[in-house]
Symmetry: C2
Subunit: 155 residues, 2 copies
């Protein structure tokens, strides 16, 4: 499994980015929203909605599924979090709204996910859409496979 050296730093940076983003855009970064985002940034693995619910239930007994899903909706709406459709799980985004679309590399061995945002992909998808007279709104691209570390471990 791949590790970033000081993950707590990723987490803190992500929270700071979110704080600033919300401040700039006049959005409320409430304690609940902060808490959920922190939980999602606990690792680079995607997190399940009900795992978030379990975690916040420790301190907040009034948490119910809508508590989590509404918070996830908010975070997704502003690009702070993405849903991985192939996993029914959620992952933090380090650069909210920097790209139109975010694409993902998902390791099937260690579950780590990395974003991969290339203009060349956007361009090609746009081209494909155009060729089919299709107006693109949103695109899900999830590339599943083995990350570098997990390939090496197998060898």
């Amino acid at each position: 499994m791949q590790h970033c050296q000081h993950h707590q730093q990723c987490q803190q940076e992500a929270i700071t980015v979110a704080e600033k983003y919300c401040a700039t855009h006049n959005l409320r970064f409430t304690p609940l929203r902060r808490r959920v985002l922190e939980l999602i940034w606990t690792s680079h693995e995607p997190v399940k909605a009900y795992d978030i619910l379990d975690a916040i239930s420790d301190t907040d007994t009034s948490s119910k599924p809508p508590t989590v899903y509404r918070t996830l909706d908010f975070l997704q709406q502003y690009g702070l979090v993405h849903k991985l459709n192939s996993q029914n799980a959620y992952i933090g985004c380090a650069h909210p709204n920097k790209h139109q679309q975010c694409y993902f590399l998902i390791c099937t061995a260690c579950s780590e996910v990395s974003e991969c945002c290339y203009q060349s992909i956007d361009t090609l998808i746009q081209k494909v859409a155009k060729k089919n007279n299709f107006t693109q709104q949103h695109t899900v691209l999830e590339i599943q496979g083995l990350c570098e570390s997990c390939q090496n471990e197998k060898a």
Copy 2:
């Protein structure tokens, strides 16, 4: 909404293809599997598992969720059907195992789905994977937007 002129023909062809595929590969194309595949090919819209269950329950009272999911597993395994992860729905494939990967254009207005299999996409994704030292296993690409007909209807 976009229509193919004689959809029943699509359906029949798909069944014939599946029949041959199974015959060639020594697979059992049982009545249940045929029935489910026919239901999926009733339209070019993706079909929900529980809608399939409702449909087959009309004639087969012993149908339960595993009946459907197991059949879908079989059909997916041999590329006769694909799951659309962003919709939790299933769609027939006209050319089982012709491509490594199938990609989709999903109309958010009329729900119609068309496959879009371009070598150029495969190539680019492979390149992106390589650049990240990632070994690709399976890729989900679902492009959501408006199909030609639905764009025109809006105009």
